[in-house]
Symmetry: C2
Subunit: 289 residues, 2 copies
């Protein structure tokens, strides 16, 4: 792929598979940077809207056509279909092409691909910590990745050249990249992303309809994530079940400490738990603009 | 108090006890409406800053002085000292004065005051569902209550005239009032406000320091409440322990349903739980501007 990478880190032709929030945003950002972007989606109407909005240079419902043109393929579909689509695209790519994805979990994808990719092409997983409970092309933005963390997850045998290319790609889109092995990535995001989603959903789920009038901004903030797409998140939870259960167990034991302190009326212990939570929360850097 | 109420619902003189975020905001809003506002706080420097900022018409560290001037006293101190301050102020007020507060729980305050107020004055609890994890006078705003819900919690023997006066006061500050008995109020806010705070704190509390770099807006939103003052919230949790434990039990059983569905790899059940959470979240009206 080396001669197909421009000096700014962007490949000449980027093919985006799945033109939703993330795929559309990758396309907008890569086009803004000067890459040619081909969009692949099974939904022809969506592709027409994307072309109309200036998201894509070319659009096709044919993975064959899209993959053949690509220096870099970015698979932006739900996490439970990424591996099969990477495999399908890989068999259609030209030699030297690189494939990546934007899935929220990495270990199951890497395991599904191990030893099955044709020679001459390479896969390296990515996970942009960007996104929203608002899905769909209409929310795509060229600046979605600016200043955001993108985790890149090489295996021990991934070549340095491939890592550099994928890192350069995300950097060209304005992101900060972090390199982690797939399992470490999955363990961490189980706690920083998947557990908050589960907790937010469970909190929303216990609200009786007649209490809605007495919710304020606190309840709304704490349950914002619950508005996400149940199918997408069901797939993420399934792909990351062991680490998510680990994170949930850790959360449960902290809830139990609150519960015990409340039961015995131990105000000091309650305040100590709240102080620890506040210290952790205050330790997060200020939210991005 | 009738001849001391102006046509717009504001008493002539409002005394605010405790000039923090809520007290300062009550003062700013009441002053903007044309009331004379006296601030009482044990912190003379805070009072000087409040005077300088135009939050108060008069300021005193003497509850006696502040209470004597008042048509309406609004006690804006932490929930565990409200009852004693209402009692102290009540004994110093002129006949016909009304006392209220802004505490997040109501039943323990009402119980502490029952049968102990001097004749000629009346107490009626209020709880504005406004506020922030940002405490202190510097965050006080004249528009903090605009469009927000304020719950007013009469007992069976509270006179209609007192209810009308307190409702008219909050309406003049731009709030929408809701009337509930103290226990119903406490049961509902245990779920809509105190449980989200506990959950947000517990979530922040399980984040290892070296995972901070992989948090995104989702984790930040879900833990925003955890930044609140541990002393204030410790007092609220203590005052509302039975209902908070009830809310926590309901939340725990929903978490257990997630856990079981994950354990048995039941994607359909997981998606159903997520769908129910999304439906509840989507059922909240859009957040206030």
């Amino acid at each position: 792929m080396n001669d197909a990478i421009r000096e700014d880190g962007l490949p000449r032709t980027v093919t985006v598979v799945g033109v939703g929030l993330l795929g559309g945003s990758v396309a907008l950002a890569a086009r803004r940077g000067g890459a040619r972007v081909v969009g692949v989606d099974r939904d022809a109407e969506l592709l027409a809207r994307a072309r109309q909005r200036g998201v894509l240079d070319a659009a096709t419902t044919s993975l064959r056509e899209g993959a053949a043109a690509a220096d870099l393929v970015v698979v932006c579909t739900p996490v439970d279909v990424i591996a099969e689509q990477v495999l399908a695209a890989a068999s259609l790519c030209k030699a030297g092409a690189i494939l990546t994805d934007v899935g929220s979990t990495k270990a199951t994808i890497v395991a599904a691909l191990r030893g099955r990719l044709p020679s001459g092409v390479a896969y390296l997983g990515s996970h942009p910590l960007a996104g929203s409970e608002k899905q769909g092309l209409e929310h795509a933005r060229a600046d979605l990745f600016e200043g955001r963390c993108v985790v890149v997850t090489p295996e021990s045998d991934t070549s340095a050249g491939v890592v550099n290319s994928v890192v350069a790609f995300w950097s060209a889109l304005g992101a900060e990249t972090t390199i982690l092995d797939p399992e470490s990535h999955d363990r961490i995001v189980a706690l920083t992303s998947h557990l908050p989603h589960l907790v937010s959903s469970a909190l929303a789920g216990v609200l009786p309809a007649d209490f809605v009038g007495l919710t304020a901004t606190g309840f709304r903030d704490a349950t914002r994530l619950a508005g996400g797409d149940p199918k997408l998140w069901g797939a993420i939870f399934e792909a990351n079940t062991p680490f998510l259960l680990e994170a949930l167990a850790s959360f449960n034991s902290r809830l139990a400490r609150f519960q015990e302190a409340l039961h015995r009326g131990d105000r000091g212990a309650i305040e100590e738990l709240l102080r620890e939570g506040k210290a952790a929360r205050d330790g997060l850097s200020p939210p991005f603009a």
